[in-house]
Amino acid sequence: MFSNYSIMDIQSFLNKVRSLISLGELRETLTIINTLLRNCPHLNEVIGKDVKDDEILAQIHIGRLEVDNGHLSKKEATAKFLAFVQIIETLSEEHSDLRDELNNALSKDLKHILQYHTGTGDNVIGQKVVMDTLLREIYKELDKKTKG
């Protein structure tokens, strides 16, 4: 969750997302799911159809969910997020094309996704942002150099 930069398999990725949900970092989880789906268009489409009848799951799908706004408690939202992750897991197990797409995204575009969405940051918000940005840039450059 914090520093694994090796290629991540689907299961460990989903487990890490679950850990994040259990830590109550729902906003971060929403960003991760949204980024994941942007990088997996086919999966995005299938999930869209699967969750269209559930208002909350549909909101998670489009990345627009407001937690603790009076309509949805954090506990309910947590349950919905876990359900959403479960859907991804089930789909990836049942459909090899979706599994491949997910694997591909995790090995390329989403390698560092969890590193920068780990919940509690430094207690000075501005400094946390600077730190995260610098680390992201450094890893990007390291990627370039080692691939080159």
């Binding site: 520093s3 930069y5 590193q115 940051g121 430094d122 000075v124 400094q127 730190m131 450059e141 080692t146």
Partner: protein, 201 residues
């Protein structure tokens, strides 16, 4: 004669009672004064510790910003293919993290433990606002310093921690949360696992 004796005896008893009452009053006044004095001393100590904490926090912010500068230096060196400079920058980040950042963090913990003793709410806020972010930053810095690709460019350097490096942090958190505080206990476990890989074996 009897009347006079009785009068004197009664007078003595009354005098004794009045005397005892006066002594009791004096003792009470003294106690109140002493309690007030102790209260004032406690307040003064709290003011002193608060000031101390402020200075330490400012120092820590400075060390954190210094790490940012070195990270920027590192980024530029990687971008500009200045591999020979990397070991030096790596050392700067390493030293700044262990010697300055962690040390100032430990001083903050020691001071806060005294300042917040007996105040469970403040202590929990301190754990959430300072200690968990400290662990997160530490994991991130250690991950960077030990990144295999970075080591490759940096002639195979690594930095490791011992069993005692984060002992104070974990001990402070564990002693100030309840056994049923599953949320924070889960966080502790995650950080312990994350740091485990950097321990000297």
């Amino acid at each position: 004669m009897n009347y006079i004796f009785e009068f004197l005896t009664q007078s003595n008893i009354v005098a004794g009672i009045i005397g005892a009452f006066i002594v009791w009053i004096i003792a009470q006044v003294k106690s109140v004064a002493e309690i007030n004095k102790i209260d004032k001393e406690v307040i003064n100590i709290r003011i002193f510790l608060n000031k101390e904490l402020y200075v330490l926090e400012e120092q820590k912010k400075g060390h954190f910003q210094k790490i940012h500068l070195y990270l920027k230096e590192l980024l530029d060196a990687i971008k500009e293919d200045k591999s020979p400079n990397l070991p030096e920058i790596w050392d700067k980040i390493n030293n700044s993290f262990f010697i300055d950042y962690l040390e100032s963090s430990y001083q903050i913990i020691r001071t806060s433990k005294i300042l917040f003793s007996g105040n469970k709410k403040d202590m929990k806020d301190f754990i959430d606002d300072e200690l968990f972010p400290l662990l997160k930053t530490s994991v991130e810095i250690l991950a960077l310093l030990n990144d295999s690709r970075f080591k490759e460019l940096n002639r195979d350097r690594e930095t490791l921690i011992s069993d005692t490096t984060f002992k104070l942090v974990f001990r402070t958190i564990k002693r100030n949360i309840t056994i049923i505080d599953f949320h924070r206990r889960k966080k502790i476990k995650l950080y312990e696992e994350a740091l485990e890989r950097y321990k000297i074996t």
